[in-house]
């Protein structure tokens, strides 16, 4: 008989060590997988994890890909801590992209230096407005935010489709569903020449620090955690759960909207029928991989970004199928969860001792 017995106090070292352990297990299992497929395991792992970031261009691409993931995940993590399950970051991201993109397209010949700051604010507000709907429905009608936020994602992407097929379509684009390219004043400044890494990556770093500060050093951060861990205690303490719901969704929506603005004003440079290849959903994995901690999320976002880049490299170099990216992301999550179980429980062989 194998049983799991809860441990009295999980080791603090292991709580933070588990993600690292999970990465190590993933590497070992990945090596086994590659050799089972008939490829040199070390070379394959090199191609997957090192080759994509072996030059400065690769590094800038890594951070470019990690930026929207990290931004969305930092916002979502606050809600997850407070038991607010915002699954609709993808839609909030799209809404942020739509609102800021609409401004860029409307004033496409503007050279004003205020255009970009206005777009940033508009992106944040767009994401917030979209997240406000689940917040209102939850606080007013007790509607489940998982369902409402998820369904609003589809509404947002269809709305984007309508806009690029109609009002915001490029009048010189042969009726193809795309907006004009944004003017230079509407594009985020690049951090390095010859790269696509833009100033949004720096803002993201700042947001990570801010997120850490809010969660660990402010009253509202404390309230979120208490409401999440023990709703009853929060009630006795007089914390307002509605305030926590609104706060979590506004923060999550605002940051997702900012991520959407960074995508359209950064690497995309126009509005298209699809803005995000699922960043809002992947961010949920990133949030948990990062232990719902902003710094952890930054690391997790970078790691998941690397798994996309690595997946492309092994496709190019070894003709492995795309599924290899998903396999690595899945293994990472699986090993993390497995480690979690072993941190919180101990494996006991034999039958349960009878109480004396």
């Amino acid at each position: 008989m194998i049983r799991f017995e809860p441990r009295l106090a999980p080791s603090r070292v292991m709580v933070y060590g588990a993600p690292i352990l999970a990465v190590c297990f993933t590497l070992v299992a990945g090596a086994m997988l590659f050799s089972a497929l008939g490829y040199d395991p070390l070379n394959s792992l090199y191609l997957f994890f090192i080759q994509p970031i072996s030059d400065s261009y690769g590094l800038t691409e890594l951070f470019l890909k990690a930026t929207p993931l990290t931004l969305c995940a930092v916002g979502l993590a606050v809600g997850f801590r407070g038991n607010v399950w915002n699954i609709g970051a993808e839609g909030q991201l799209t809404m942020g992209a739509i609102v800021s993109g609409a401004i860029a397209v409307t004033w496409y010949d503007s050279t004003s230096m205020f255009l970009l700051p206005i777009m940033i604010i508009a992106g944040v507000l767009g994401g917030m407005a979209w997240a406000a709907i689940p917040a209102f429905l939850k606080t007013r009608f007790h509607a489940n935010e998982i369902l409402t936020s998820l369904m609003l994602t589809y509404v947002a992407t269809l709305f984007l489709g309508y806009l690029v097929n109609g009002p915001l379509r490029n009048p010189e684009g042969f009726n193809f569903p795309e907006s004009r390219m944004f003017g230079d004043a509407a594009l985020l400044p690049l951090l390095f020449d010859e790269s696509r890494l833009h100033i949004g990556a720096l803002i993201t770093l700042f947001v990570v620090l801010l997120g850490w500060f809010i969660m660990s050093r402010t009253l509202i951060g404390f309230q979120v955690k208490v409401v999440g861990l023990t709703p009853l205690a929060a009630n006795y303490a007089g914390f307002n759960p509605k305030k926590v719901i609104w706060m979590s969704l506004m923060l999550g929506g605002g940051l997702a909207g900012l991520a959407g603005m960074f995508e359209v004003a950064g690497p995309i440079g126009q509005l298209q029928p699809v803005i995000s290849p699922g960043y809002g959903f992947t961010a949920i994995i990133v949030a948990f991989l990062g232990r719902l901690h902003p710094i952890g999320i930054l690391l997790a976002g970078t790691l998941v970004a690397l798994s996309y880049l690595g997946g492309e490299t092994v496709q190019m170099e070894l003709s492995l199928p795309l599924a290899v990216t998903g396999v690595f992301q899945g293994m990472l999550l699986f090993f993390l969860l497995a480690c979690d179980v072993l941190i919180n429980y101990r494996v006991v062989l034999g039958f349960k001792r009878k109480a004396a």
């Binding site: 261009y57 009726n175 696509r196 995309i268 699809v274 803005i275 170099e317 795309l322």
Partner: protein
């Protein structure tokens, strides 16, 4: 130092064993969806296999599948160019601007972009005259329908798709003045669930022949289950409904790919070229007819095919009315390729309004 040299020498020797590879011309393919076993990307992959067969060791071919249109595609194309690839085939419309951005930075790399309209001195575009095959399919559908309701499952209301619907309808009306075409949009290139629903709805509305512009065989399967006819697209889809599929408009990219790769190998490749090949060049083909198609229909289609190849028949030769009765193309004139590129109205015979 001496040791380092020795190591380097050994490494060079090891590489020298594959010296032939260094001489190889490297060609990369970027695919928008999984290769699968039928459909748009599958046909491009057949083209890739054709050049591998044709040129053998002279070339090294690699591909990346399911690359999202937008920032991800720019990175994949960039990585090909950066890693010494000589030629890149970007096979989806949404790769247009990313391809041009990378092409600017790598003037010596040859880029081929499918279905786009922007070119440069090292970027060519190519597209098949699918509409010629659609017209022939229309002749078959017009003859085979008894309910005079014909359904069309379509992806996005972009000119390429509208052109196909119109050519198909022109073919139908050529042989059957009473038949009407009903269109349902799925707003996705690949969504078997939505395509199936759309097909079932059209069958429910009385359609006894279906056509489709989408990437999955769901429409053929729906027709097979309901016992009605359907026409395939991209690939021969008869294995998904041997009795249902009347024929299919098949794209064959192989001759074009072989031609362009030959040019690169011989140093004769040039940019700024636009290719629209059709039945004549073999880029568009018709799949074998279903046994249910009578001989007189086969003869009719064959005759029209030869006329199109000879240039005496054009699916969009005037007079053409739109579906609101307004004359759009006068008798004696034919729509130019430029007109076809921006098609945004339905011809007579299509029911409904184009979404805008």
């Amino acid at each position: 130092m001496g040791k380092l040299k020795a190591v380097l020498a050994a490494a060079t020797l090891a590489l020298g064993a594959t010296a032939a590879q260094a001489e190889q011309t490297k060609i990369g393919f970027v695919y928008v969806s999984p290769i699968g076993d039928a459909g748009y990307t599958y046909q491009h992959d057949l083209g890739r296999k054709a050049i591998e067969e044709e040129f053998g060791d002279k070339i090294k071919v690699s591909f990346v599948e399911s690359v999202a249109e937008g920032p991800d595609s720019e990175r994949v194309i960039m990585n090909y160019a950066k890693n010494g690839y000589d030629m890149v085939f970007a096979t989806s419309f949404g790769y247009m601007n990313p391809t041009l951005k990378v092409a600017k930075k790598f003037p010596k790399v040859a880029f081929e972009h499918a279905t786009g309209y922007k070119r440069a001195k090292n970027v060519n575009t190519y597209v098949a005259r699918f509409y010629e095959g659609r017209y022939l399919a229309g002749l078959v559908a017009g003859k085979m329908t008894t309910s005079n309701v014909i359904g069309y499952v379509a992806a996005f209301p972009i000119p390429e798709v509208v052109r196909g619907i119109n050519a198909f309808t022109r073919g139908i009306r050529e042989v059957n003045k009473d038949a009407q075409v009903r269109v349902i949009w799925t707003n996705s290139w690949f969504d078997p669930g939505k395509e199936r629903e759309a097909a079932d709805t059209l069958i429910g509305q009385g359609a006894d022949v279906l056509n489709m512009h989408a990437d999955s065989p769901a429409t053929i399967q729906a027709a097979a289950d309901a016992g009605v006819y359907a026409i395939g697209y991209n690939s021969d889809l008869s294995k998904f409904g041997p009795k249902a599929q009347l024929t299919s408009t098949v794209t064959n990219w192989a001759p074009y790919y072989v031609k362009r790769v030959t040019e690169v190998l011989e140093g004769k490749w040039e940019g700024n070229q636009d290719t629209w090949d059709g039945l004549k060049e073999g880029m568009v083909e018709m799949a074998p007819f279903n046994d249910a198609v009578p001989q007189d229909v086969r003869d009719l289609v064959e005759k029209a095919k030869q006329d199109i190849i000879a240039g005496t028949l054009h699916p969009f030769a005037g007079p053409i009315n739109d579906n609101e009765g307004k004359e759009r193309v006068a008798a004696g004139t034919t729509m130019t390729d430029g007109d076809l590129l921006g098609f945004n109205w339905y011809v007579e015979g299509v029911v409904g309004k184009l979404p805008n």
